[in-house]
């Protein structure tokens, strides 16, 4: 038997592949099947004796052990090829190799078994330092973004990224260090540590507010049973200012510096089959943040949850139900800061209303609220007459929606009964129809025709066509 390049499974004959898929049944290969396989593939029971990795420079070998150990479990050639292929993909996913080639050969040397195989991974490491730069224009501002990345800093797939944006108005930067747990590279399954340092500037025209944040954060994420948890500490120096001289006095009063030090915990369960157009499964995310106990000026307790249920109906249509809610409870005598409060409304939450333009406001500047809830009922269907089915057309959905929500401030002296009553009065709601476009697997664009209802004085509405883009959707 000669050398086989198992870079991909494609060149394999069709029936061989079918057999390969059944190989779970073949883990204890009955003699019978084995013989028939030998006939078809001229194969026999094999033992993987050595797995070599060639081309390693600064990468530590122990990291790769977790990714390739499965190859040793293979019992026949198809299995070896399949497992080697999977291992190759896992190696590439680490983001530290430019290229990985797999070489399968018969064992040689003194201890070689007659049916022994050696698998060799020939890897090419990515450069120690990669960089990028691009320019952006938008929002009356031009900026240049410079990015630097150390993809494999200490040899165990640690990632250090630095991004610096120099604009005509603002500069911002972010430095991030990511340490994966070896063997669990995918964020979802391992104990992963992320450290961040950043400066970002945000302009919020609905509040006439400008915010500059400089902060550091440390984040540990880990799984626990079915759930994923994230523990985070964040220290931020926040500088608030008015966006224009005409800003309302209520916003002007919030100007100045403050320090927030907060610990937060996020628990999430996600059984959906897709983040953007799920057809089944549910998502539950509960987030709590406690600020003030570790220093800083801001002290509050913030609770926030998000629930989404999906159910497939007839003809590929999906019924989706979402519910959001949150509460901010200021601790001590201080009132809550405008930057910590909740905002609601816009093309991605309660549709038919202006961006974050529901609830308490002063002279046209929205001040946010300390409690909110929002719910949505969507019926997603494929495009009418299904143009571009199986291809481009699958990026689109039509949807009919019914959204409702409320945002207000609570008087925490009153009981829960009064709170519920307050949240239940003056409910804003809207209904409509629109087209949704999926962008990758993280964002989506919506073009909707909305009919806002239950509008309260001070709310800004968007009666008719509304366009929106975002990554979080009601």
């Amino acid at each position: 038997m000669g050398t086989v390049h198992a870079k991909s499974l494609d060149p394999l004959p069709m029936h061989g592949r079918d057999l390969g898929i059944n190989n779970d049944d073949l883990m204890e290969p009955p003699e019978h099947e084995q013989e028939s396989k030998q006939e078809i593939l001229e194969n026999k029971d094999v033992v993987v004796q050595h797995v070599n990795i060639q081309g390693l420079g600064r990468t530590k070998e122990d990291l790769l052990g977790y990714e390739i150990s499965d190859v040793f479990l293979a019992r026949n050639l198809i299995d070896v090829m399949k497992k080697a292929h999977l291992a190759r993909q896992r190696l590439l996913r680490l983001g530290i190799f430019k290229d990985v080639e797999v070489l399968i050969d018969t064992s040689e040397g003194t201890d070689a078994l007659p049916n022994g195989l050696d698998v060799t991974f020939e890897v090419t490491e990515i450069k120690r330092l990669t960089g990028s730069y691009n320019t952006m224009v938008g929002n009356n501002e031009g900026s240049m973004v410079l990015g630097l990345k150390l993809p494999n800093m200490f040899g165990r797939a640690e990632k250090l990224t630095f991004q610096f944006s120099y604009g005509t108005k603002e500069t911002s930067y972010g430095l991030s260090f990511f340490k994966p747990q070896p063997g669990y590279f995918e964020r979802k399954y391992g104990h992963n540590l992320t450290l961040n340092m950043y400066k970002v500037t945000g302009q919020f025209p609905w509040s006439s507010l400008k915010e500059t944040d400089r902060g550091v954060s440390a984040e540990l994420s880990f799984p626990f049973g079915m759930t994923n948890h994230t523990l985070k500490w964040e220290g931020v120096w926040r500088e608030l200012g008015c966006l224009a001289r005409s800003a309302s006095f209520a916003v002007r009063e919030e100007s100045g510096h403050s320090l927030k030090s907060a610990i937060s915990h996020t628990m999430s369960v996600d059984t959906r089959n897709s983040a953007i157009f799920p057809s089944r499964g549910a998502l539950l995310r509960i987030n709590q943040e406690l600020a003030g106990y570790t220093g800083g000026d801001a002290s509050f307790l913030k609770e926030d949850f998000e629930l989404q249920l999906n159910r497939r109906l007839f003809w590929d249509s999906v019924l989706s139900l979402s519910l959001w809610g949150g509460m901010l409870y200021p601790i001590g005598s201080e009132t809550s800061c405008i930057a910590d409060r909740f905002y609601l409304g816009g093309p991605t939450s309660v549709r038919g209303f202006g961006m974050y333009s529901i609830g308490p406001q002063s002279e046209g500047d929205y001040l946010g609220g300390e409690a909110y809830w929002a719910g949505g009922l969507h019926l997603y269907t494929p495009l009418p007459f299904r143009p571009g089915k199986g291809g481009f057309g699958d990026l689109f959905r039509t949807h009919f929606f019914l959204n409702a929500g409320n945002l207000c401030n609570l008087n925490y002296g009153d009981g829960p009964q009064a709170h519920l009553q307050k949240l239940a009065e003056c409910i804003r709601w809207s209904y409509g129809v629109g087209i949704v476009l999926r962008l990758g697997n993280i964002a989506r664009l919506e073009l909707n025709y909305c009919v806002p209802m239950g509008v309260q004085s001070g709310d800004r509405i968007c009666d008719g066509v509304q366009f929106g883009a975002g990554i979080r959707f009601l």
Binding site: L240, A244, R245, S246, F249, H257, L259, G296
Partner: protein, 259 residues
């Protein structure tokens, strides 16, 4: 906002009378406010009292950042926000309240020149003593300035402010001066003011003007504020007519109203 819109707004403002709930914002009086801010705030308060315009003084830790120009003090009248003495004088003039209407062109030019003198000498000297004299900066200015904030923000902000002022001092050529030279400048400024005042009750005869308010604000604050050294106050105390001028304005405009 465009210039035209600005002009439009100020015209609307002119049409409205002075409201009862006008408010003046300044930093916290006990723990935070510094000599220079206190002087500017007192000057505006004196000016408004001379005009007979009621204003309520409110202390806020973030007054500096609330101010549209970043300077102390500022007033909130109706829905208008105006900061610093110069613009406030213009603003009240638009509403029909002015102290310098009776002056002729020569006097008006003189008024402007003396106000510039006070701002360039006394205010700059106050800033110099506060932030460029290491003892004062360490013992008084930085702790007071940063008092509303928690560590490490307190250190960051106070050093940032100190660095800013020192850079400004270097830009205007005061960076190379020592404390003695600054005291000498203050003396010279006071001498000029003392000569202009002479034996008159106010700088321009019997009627107070914004110059009187400005001079009173600065001198009175320097005289009554405790610093690491009393040298600054001592320099002023050698001009007896300025002392009695301060006492006169205090009695006329501040003691009557409060009693």
């Amino acid at each position: 906002m465009s210039l035209a819109a600005d002009a439009f707004v100020s015209q609307i403002a002119a049409a409205e009378p002075w409201p009862e709930n006008a408010t003046l914002y300044q930093p916290l009086k006990e723990d935070q406010i510094l000599l220079s801010d206190c002087a500017s705030s007192l000057a505006v308060q004196a000016y408004l009292r001379m005009c007979g315009l009621p204003v309520q003084v409110v202390c806020r830790a973030n007054a500096e950042y609330m101010s549209p120009s970043g300077k102390i003090p500022f007033i909130h009248v109706g829905n208008q926000v105006v900061s610093e003495l110069g613009p406030i004088v213009q603003f009240t003039k638009a509403k029909g309240h002015s102290l310098s209407d009776g002056l002729d062109d020569v006097q008006r030019a003189e008024l402007k020149a003396y106000m510039e003198l006070v701002n360039n000498m006394l205010l700059t000297a106050e800033l110099y003593v506060q932030w460029c004299d290491d003892a004062t900066a360490a013992e008084i200015s930085r702790p007071r300035y940063s008092s509303p904030y928690s560590w490490p923000l307190s250190n960051i902000l106070s050093y940032q402010r100190q660095w800013e002022v020192r850079r400004k001092m270097n830009a205007i050529g005061w960076g190379a001066k020592n404390l003695e030279q600054v005291y000498e400048d203050v003396s010279q400024c006071c001498q000029a003011l003392s000569q202009r005042l002479g034996t008159q009750p106010f700088f321009f005869n019997k009627q107070p003007t914004e110059l009187d308010a400005l001079v009173f604000g600065h001198l009175f604050t320097i005289l009554t504020t405790r610093l690491t050294s009393t040298e600054l106050a001592e320099r002023i105390k050698s001009y007896s007519n300025l002392l009695s001028f301060c006492r006169r304005i205090e009695q006329t405009y501040f003691e009557d109203k409060s009693s």
